[in-house]
């Protein structure tokens, strides 16, 4: 039974959620803003905005490359958060979840980080290398700032699922397989059992990510989960247009092709 789906009231539904991921600053800050808007047009319900990191332990080669491109553009945690108001001005009204590794948060300071999220209008945060046991202070700050702290469960979480789910906010992120993002493994049938188990304990929508790259994958996940999270595949669609997206003359057309490719993926 879903008890709360807040994101400051910005999320209007609790199922069939499409949650795409893009890396802030890949391939350029102004392009990130346009990509966010195209994803909203293509049906995104929540935007995961990734902060590029030098050592992204949970990510496979695709997101590592995106991080590298973004870091070469000088993108930082603060600059990425500062993109949000411009996205809003241009019409983005879906919730934005900041996806960041812990070290940049620690560097800027946990309190300062949440002040920035509140000031610039992010609704959620996800820190992939901060497991439940290390996240107490961050979860408390998130509550105080009315920011959803997104928790993750993995196929081997077992008895941890109940504990993690009981404190879940926003949506609960189910990692589909053991491994890093962007894997090309076939989604196993075990995944559906896992989703069902998690749903039993979760007070918030259950969304599945990691390795979801085809329309078939999306359909299969939709049948069982409340939402589908697509990261590496979206990044590969950006990557295919990197040069065109950077070129102001060619950007508009590249964004249109990106939009159509995303539509095809999630339709």
């Amino acid at each position: 039974m879903l008890t709360q789906t807040s994101f400051q009231g910005k999320l209007s539904k609790t199922e069939d959620l499409f949650i795409p991921f893009i890396e802030a600053g890949d391939p350029a800050p102004e392009v990130t803003i346009e990509l966010a808007l195209k994803l909203q047009d293509a049906g995104a319900d929540i935007l995961e905005l990734g902060i590029p990191y030098s050592d992204p332990l949970a990510d496979g080669p695709t997101i590592q490359r995106a991080a590298k491109r973004a870091l070469e553009n000088g993108m930082s945690l603060k600059q990425a958060i500062e993109l949000i108001p411009t996205m809003r001005e241009k019409g983005l009204d879906i919730p934005v979840v900041i996806f960041t590794y812990y070290n940049p948060v620690l560097r800027i300071g946990e309190e300062k980080f949440f002040e920035l999220l509140e000031q610039y209008g992010a609704e959620g945060v996800l820190i992939p290398d901060l497991p439940y046991e290390e996240s107490e202070s961050v979860r408390e700050l998130a509550l105080n700032h009315d920011i959803e702290y997104i928790s993750l469960v993995a196929p081997n979480s077992e008895e941890r699922i109940q504990k993690i789910a009981s404190d879940a906010r926003g949506f609960l992120y189910c990692v589909s397989t053991l491994g890093v993002t962007g894997g090309e493994n076939q989604l196993s049938s075990e995944v559906t059992d896992f989703i069902e188990r998690v749903k039993k304990h979760s007070p918030v929508p259950v969304a599945v990510g990691f390795g979801i790259s085809t329309n078939d994958d999306v359909r299969m996940i939709r049948e069982h989960a409340d939402g589908v999270i697509i990261g590496s595949k979206i990044i590969r669609l950006v990557e295919a247009e990197v040069e065109n997206l950077k070129d102001e003359q060619k950007r508009e057309e590249a964004l249109d092709r990106f939009y159509h490719n995303v539509r095809e993926l999630v339709e």
Binding site: S76, N103, D129, E133, E134, A154, V175, L178, V180
Partner: protein
């Protein structure tokens, strides 16, 4: 009485912990339970010591370096000869311990990261000895500068996996090993080579390396017969230093960890994590690391592949923060000069890593009275570094 670290959550004061993706929490829990059980089992401890003695060649010698002592004219200098251990460095102590644990856990496949290649060789060695399958992740830059060790690993039957991300050094190899472990944690044992990583790794590696300090203490008391006044060890991730220091933490002995200052701590090219770094999270633990103002981990530099690491074990961060150990930094140039000096006076070619500890000790020994004693952990031998050494001294002949 010094408090026992780490605590239940794997903390050394503020430092340590488990900053890992959720997927690794289960394997870390499994590891911790198996480790605690093994360390409480006399049979396991006996087997570990048996392999160390009959296979690895422990105890290693404690050598009084009379020539260099006379030459410097100050404190009396002793060397703990980990260079004499099988495979040429202290790394094997830990590899044996973890391989025995892997076997006990029923894991037939091990993975390891390596910088200088010494831990890779140690892992490949125990894999051959105990019939395990072994993959070693190694940065492309390190593969280039440590070619003999790459060949040794392959001969021993290990698969060496080149890592091209970042600058292709130890940090990047560790990232890739962790990523591989995330995907394959069900049947793979990750054999970490230093006192880094998420809990319980820093504690486990320390406990498998403290044999260095335990032995040294016994040998010193039998010989001198007092404890040394100063102990020096080089620090990259910090396993040889923790192994040496730990048994002396409650004694009246001054402990000095020596980091790599590369081309100088005032340049951009160094690996002096405690001297120049700040608090942060790397490879699963809260410690000190080299990073920029935005919290991006920066690329370290040292002539020594084994010290070329932007982080440091969390227990060192704690010992630094609580001022129980003094940390200094030594440049490439100073280390290479100490290497040459030891080779010429004592007939021992040390590893470039260990030469950092030698350099700091030699610097301080001169000004100490002759009734003081110095112990230096000679963590490895220099055979693997011949190309680096030849390159450094070319033109001087």
């Amino acid at each position: 009485m010094v408090q026992v670290y780490p605590d239940q959550k794997g903390r050394y004061g503020d430092f340590g912990g488990k900053y890992v993706p959720e997927t690794l929490m289960a394997p870390l829990q499994e590891l911790e339970e198996a480790l605690d059980e093994a360390m409480g089992d006399k049979g396991f401890i006996a087997e570990y010591h048996h392999v160390l003695e009959k296979y690895a060649g422990r105890p290693t010698a404690l050598t009084y370096a009379d020539k260099i002592t006379d030459m410097l004219g100050g404190a009396r200098i002793y060397l703990k000869r980990e260079d004499l251990l099988h495979t040429g460095a202290h790394k094997l102590n830990n590899a044996i311990g973890q391989a025995l644990l892997a076997k006990r856990m029923g894991k037939k496949k091990i993975i390891a990261e390596t910088g200088a290649g010494q831990h890779g060789v140690a892992s490949a060695t125990v894999a051959a000895k105990f019939g395990l399958e072994c993959k070693v992740f190694m940065g492309e830059e390190d593969i280039r500068r440590q070619e003999p060790n790459v060949f040794r690993m392959k001969m021993l039957g290990a698969e060496v996996i080149p890592v091209s991300s970042g600058r292709g050094t130890l940090k990047d190899a560790t990232n890739e090993a962790i990523r591989y472990w995330v995907a394959n944690c069900e049947d793979h044992f990750y054999l970490i080579g230093s006192v880094v990583g998420p809990h319980p790794y820093p504690r486990m590696v320390r406990d498998f390396q403290r044999i260095i300090g335990d032995e040294s203490k016994r040998q010193f008391l039998e010989g001198e017969p007092t404890l040394p006044d100063y102990i020096y060890a080089c620090v990259g991730g910090g396993s040889n230093a923790i192994g040496m220091f730990h048994p002396f933490l409650e004694d009246d002995v001054e402990l000095i960890g020596v980091e790599a200052a590369g081309k100088g701590v005032d340049t951009e090219e160094h690996a002096a994590t405690l001297t120049k770094g700040d608090r942060g999270v790397i490879h699963g633990s809260l410690t000190f690391l080299l990073q920029d103002e935005h919290g991006q981990i920066t690329e370290p530099y040292s002539i020594s592949a084994g010290l070329d690491y932007p982080g440091i074990g969390p227990e060192h961060a704690y010992l630094f923060d609580s001022k129980q150990v003094r940390y200094e930094a030594v440049t490439d140039e100073e280390a290479m000069n100490a290497l040459k000096l030891l080779t010429e006076t004592e007939g021992i070619i040390p590893a470039v890593e260990s030469a950092h500890a030698l350099a700091q000790a030699f610097k301080e020994a001169k000004d100490l009275p002759q009734d003081k004693t110095i112990l230096i952990n000679l963590s490895g031998r220099g055979d693997k570094d011949l190309a680096t050494i030849m390159n450094h001294f070319k033109g001087e002949e």
